[in-house]
């Protein structure tokens, strides 16, 4: 297909619905949950679960359909767009509230890891639950107190107990997005799981890293803390401790044996190639919310932006708005290109990380600039601009900080390994 920028129909058709959801179910509650951290927005969770079921969408995680994973043949040969659809939905929901979007039931990053690194049997076993009666969550546990972006220094250990054929996990995980809803057994929620990254052979470094699916309620695993954050407060960020947690043998994602290669670790990183542009999309959703709000306020106050004029003739506010639009539009196109590549099974490590670098910059810059231009209106908690400023900051941090993504981009363009460029 030649170069084309027509929004695919399945995306265009859902935009209106998502906007309504964003306004009615998210924006209207944004302030309340920002000020009541750790309360759970049951109305939103139940509404979204019902709505997604009605639409036949079990999970926000990329599904097997149209993704080619399970080799199911489509009736017509249409180009696959599952990731494009997902990125667009996330952008639209994050436009409503990036914290609420994280509390959308479904598999999240946990399911994405199963989807990317699991066997067909594992996918069948772990992913079916998201389409069932109760809303269900899954989370990814990677970060530790001593290992953030440097995921290879993860200390959590998994040892095979050959008598029972179970993995025994020990360690402490922090910053688990949705960890509480995925692991703690609430009456209103279905049984979720967490995907825990651990080493099966510390002497092998990255080659020894594996992910394990741990069912909610597994003995030995405990949510020990819920963080208090700058923004996205409606989304829980949990610390999870594992003390002799026993996990069935077939809950390991990837090979149970260690060869002296880094394929296991690269599997984990491949998950991020798929999910980075999605997180980028969420950052751009907040940024668009802020920019649109600014433009509304400017219009209310009779300030017009005169597109088409040379820079020298523009006012400062016009220049700022125009620059923000350029940033936002181009960052979105980078996201779309990265997910389009994922849909078409093109290696997208470079594009995926570039989209995250750009969106991280754009999300923070636009929300910061909007608060500045709006002055006291921007700083006041009467409006949501100040909240978006706080919310957007996370998008330049999680799923790889802007700096770690610059490193990934640099290694790609320089054709350097991690050793060449540390």
């Amino acid at each position: 297909m030649p170069i084309e920028f027509e929004t695919p129909k399945p995306i265009a058709q859902t935009q209106f619905v998502l906007k309504t959801v964003a306004e009615e179910m998210m924006r209207s509650k944004s302030r309340y949950f920002d000020e009541h951290e750790h309360e759970i927005p049951w109305d939103y969770i139940e509404f979204m679960h019902t709505a997604m079921k009605a639409m036949g969408v079990g999970s926000l995680a990329p599904k097997e359909k149209g993704n080619g994973h399970d080799g199911d043949e489509k009736k017509e040969k249409r180009p696959p767009i599952a990731y494009q659809v997902l990125a667009s939905q996330i952008e639209a929901l994050a436009w409503g509230d990036v914290g609420f979007y994280l509390v959308t039931p479904g598999g999240g990053l946990g399911a994405a890891a199963v989807q990317a690194a699991g066997t067909p049997e594992q996918r069948a076993k772990f992913l079916a639950r998201f389409a069932e009666e109760k809303p269900t969550f899954a989370a990814m546990c990677m970060t530790e107190a001593g290992a953030g972006s440097d995921t290879a220094s993860i200390r959590t250990r998994a040892i095979l107990d050959e008598k029972t054929n179970e993995w025994v996990l020990n360690g402490e995980k922090i910053f688990v997005t949705g960890g509480d809803k995925s692991f703690t057994e609430y009456e209103k929620l279905g049984k979720g799981f967490i995907v825990v990254w651990a080493s099966i052979d510390p002497s092998a470094g990255r080659a020894g890293m594996r992910a394990f699916v741990i069912e909610a309620g597994t003995p030995g695993v405990r949510v020990t803390k819920l963080e208090h954050k700058l923004g996205i407060r409606v989304s829980d960020t949990a610390s999870i401790s594992l003390v002799d947690a026993r996990v069935p043998f077939d809950h390991i994602l990837g090979s149970p044996t260690v060869e002296k290669t880094t394929t296991g670790f690269k599997g984990a990183m491949a998950t991020f190639d798929a999910t980075r542009p999605l997180v980028a999309a969420s950052g751009l959703g907040v940024a668009r919310a802020a920019l649109e709000f600014l433009k509304e306020k400017l219009t209310e106050h009779g300030v017009q932006v005169r597109y088409g004029l040379p820079r020298q003739k523009l006012t400062n506010i016009e220049r700022e708005v125009i620059d923000m639009e350029i940033m936002l539009k181009s960052a979105w196109l980078m996201v779309i290109k990265a997910v389009w590549m994922a849909d078409n099974r093109k290696p997208n490590a470079l594009e995926s990380s570039m989209s995250k670098v750009k969106a991280g910059d754009v999300g923070t810059k636009i929300t910061q600039k909007v608060v500045e231009i709006l002055g006291p209106l921007g700083y006041s908690r009467e409006f949501l601009a100040e909240k978006w400023f706080r919310d957007a900051k996370i998008t330049d941090i999680y799923e790889g900080t802007g700096q770690i993504n610059r490193l990934v981009v640099a290694r790609q363009i320089l054709d350097y390994s991690g050793k060449d460029l540390r």
Binding site: P8, D323, I326, K329, M341, R406, L407, I413
Partner: protein, 365 residues
């Protein structure tokens, strides 16, 4: 649907343009800049790639159809070789493409075959004016209708190849709107400066001031005839040409400084192994990609006659001008002292880089 794959034809074209850019334009660029002259053969060779010819239908002597997407792909690739050479090769488009887009049937019949049938010939256009607040939509050069003729008054700057031009497309303000007028170079009242413009870059290109002192233009020579033309898509196409050339030049600077950083050693490692340098390169590459995609989308919208195509082209252009300045500046910075020496091309690209903000009107896709 979204798609980012150029067609096979486009890929072949881009490859051909790339060969010319790297093997011919790039090789000649430094001498051309220093000697203030582009070799004639160099320009004819670029002309033989047939970019303009392929954008004009058979009915007017060409062999294709105009596509802004193809245009931005080709311009970016050619400017990767050298900006001055690219602008020279494409100068006849400045005259022909607006006629193709906005001319009457008679104007197309009369002028298009002339421009494209033979060798490269200096057909050109005059848009830019010498004023800090120059605005293509608010020209100081005026056109006034008198006795079924238009009188043109004013002064144009940066007019490519004006001295040798056979015909010029002169843009002037007619009742507040920018309109085009086809003017022969020897028209009475039209005078061309003796000396070339002296600019910060593009010294290889002969550019002139053109004075218009009550130049009489027959009504038939108004672009689009009696009802005139819609300048918006023409301006958008000019902005996209500048924007895609900006991406090409930036990419040249990026690649060159990247390769240098992988060779140059300091403190026992290649400087590219230092995050201070590596991060600059990562950001350069990221911003180039951002601009390129915005260009592609704007070009696609232009081809589709989208309502917001002109605004998109404006945003793409504005962003590309900033991007090119940032990237070319950093390329010089990465080379350090060597970047400041004229033996390396990066200083020239940095001078090019600053220019894109004011290059609207020097090329069109």
């Amino acid at each position: 649907m979204y798609s980012f794959d150029p067609t096979e034809e486009q890929q072949m074209l881009v490859e051909a343009v790339n060969k010319y850019a790297v093997n011919d334009l790039r090789v000649a660029a430094r001498d051309a800049e220093e000697n203030h002259e582009l070799p004639g053969k160099l320009v004819s060779k670029g002309w033989e790639l047939g970019l303009l010819q392929a954008s004009i239908p058979e009915a007017y002597g060409g062999f294709g159809e105009r596509s802004a997407v193809t245009g931005v792909l080709a311009v970016e690739e050619m400017a990767f070789g050298d900006l001055a050479g690219t602008l020279a090769v494409m100068t006849p488009s400045l005259f022909a493409t607006p006629i193709l887009l906005a001319g009457t049937e008679e104007q197309k019949q009369e002028y298009l075959p002339k421009v494209i049938e033979g060798d490269w010939a200096p057909y050109t256009a005059a848009l830019i004016e010498y004023a800090f607040d120059f605005d293509p939509n608010d020209l100081k050069t005026t056109a006034t209708l008198r006795d079924e003729e238009y009188l043109l008054n004013g002064e144009k700057a940066f007019v490519l190849f004006a001295k040798d031009a056979e015909m010029l497309l002169v843009y002037a303000n007619l009742d507040g709107k920018t309109q085009g007028f086809i003017v022969p170079r020897d028209a009475a009242g039209l005078s061309i400066s003796d000396e070339c413009e002296k600019l910060m870059s593009l010294n290889a290109l002969p550019m002139y001031r053109v004075k218009l002192d009550s130049v009489k233009v027959p009504a038939a020579n108004r672009l689009g005839g009696a009802s005139g033309m819609d300048f918006e898509p023409v301006l958008a196409s000019m902005r996209l040409a500048a924007a895609s050339a900006a991406v090409g030049v930036a990419n040249a600077a990026f690649e060159y400084s990247k390769n240098y950083a992988k060779e140059r050693e300091a403190f026992g490692v290649k400087i590219a192994q230092k995050q201070a340098i590596a991060f600059m390169l990562a950001e350069m590459r990221t911003e180039i990609e951002a601009s390129r995609l915005l260009n592609w989308e704007a070009a696609w919208k232009l081809d589709q006659n989208h309502d917001d195509a002109a605004t998109e082209a404006y945003l793409a252009f504005t962003g590309a001008a900033d991007m090119a300045m940032m990237v070319t500046d950093r390329a010089v910075q990465i080379l350090g002292g060597h970047g400041y020496i004229r033996e390396h091309p990066v200083e020239m690209w940095m001078r090019n880089g600053r220019g894109f903000a004011m290059f609207t009107g020097l090329a069109i896709v």
